[in-house]
């Protein structure tokens, strides 16, 4: 097990290995993400029953919840990649952290925007300074901060380190987001999905949500891979194997 892990680590650290192995994944990730998105959207928009309190505005859940979940998972991934760079100086980890930041920020923005739009018909307001909303806004600013630091310094190495440190410090915000609906009296409804409990949603409403979450994660994996491949092409442009790929 340990041997297997160290071998995987060394392989992941090799830009060439990553570039070559992901070549075959791109098509399947794109297909999987697109197919699940179509199924999830058709089921969610056309076949899920309307909510008995919120009516059809609840259909925003099919983008809001997957985006909010992904924004948090992506942040954790970015922090872990940053830590790997700080500890072991693996440059691939720094590129991955750099690449995740704008994608995570995009999904955080989607969660905030759709949340505000959903809030209007449901709570009668676009925005309240409630614990869940404020901590999600913090997450967006953390993403912006990490993105700024990742290109702020003279040297690339120092920029990546600064970004990684802020990413790691900002991890404290993740449990705050998660428990904000329990610790404080918030306008935001409690978690829709809980790992430890049976879902309270009707299966016809729940399935499209699970499918959309899967679709969002597949899309995220695809985006991280495509952007990391570009980072590899750029940083390794002088190497023989990259020159061979990029030869006209």
């Amino acid at each position: 097990m340990w041997q297997w892990l160290t071998r995987l680590y060394h392989r992941l650290g090799s830009p060439k290995w990553f570039y070559e192995i992901t070549e075959r994944w791109i098509f399947w990730l794109a297909l999987g993400s697109a197919v699940t998105a179509v199924i999830g959207l058709v089921l969610g928009l056309l076949f899920a029953p309307a909510d008995y309190q919120q009516g059809d505005s609840f259909r925003i859940i099919y983008i809001h919840v997957p985006a909010a979940l992904l924004a948090q998972s992506a942040y954790m991934m970015m922090a872990v990649a940053g830590a790997v760079y700080l500890i072991w100086r693996m440059k691939m980890a720094a590129w991955v952290a750099r690449v995740i930041a704008p994608i995570g920020a995009s999904f955080c923005l989607i969660a905030l925007l759709t949340g505000a739009i959903w809030g209007k018909p449901t709570w009668g307001t676009w925005w309240v300074w409630d614990a869940r909303l404020t901590s999600m806004l913090m997450l967006l600013f953390l993403y912006f901060g990490v993105m700024a630091l990742q290109q702020a310094m003279e040297s690339e190495d120092a920029s990546y380190k600064a970004g990684a440190i802020l990413a790691l410090v900002g991890v404290v915000n993740i449990p705050i987001i998660k428990y904000s609906v329990e610790w404080w009296n918030t306008l935001h409804q409690p978690a829709t999905l809980k790992l430890t409990e049976k879902p309270s949603m009707h299966p016809d409403m729940l399935w499209p949500l699970l499918i959309m979450i899967l679709s969002t994660y597949l899309f995220f994996a695809l985006m991280v891979i495509l952007r990391t491949r570009n980072e590899i092409l750029w940083h390794e442009r002088k190497r023989q194997w990259v020159r061979k790929i990029m030869e006209p």
Binding site: G55, I60, I63, L109, P121, F219, L226, R237, P248
Partner: protein, 62 residues
């Protein structure tokens, strides 16, 4: 199917504006994200070709 007509589907029980605004904004952000790596890759290839041409040009002719 929850809706009896296309008009009803668009109306989303009087919440059409909110639902379609959410989905529209999300689509814009997702499409931008999907296009970014494709465009960057194309630009990288173009720049590399330019670099190679410059190298060839600057190389002393034998």
């Amino acid at each position: 199917m929850e809706f009896n007509s296309f008009a009803e589907f668009i109306a989303m029980g009087r919440h059409g504006l909110y639902v379609w605004l959410s989905y529209g904004l999300t689509a814009v952000i997702v499409v931008y994200n999907a296009m970014q790596p494709v465009l960057r890759r194309r630009r990288l290839f173009k720049e590399q070709a330019q670099r190679l041409r410059r190298e060839k040009h600057n190389a002393p002719s034998a």
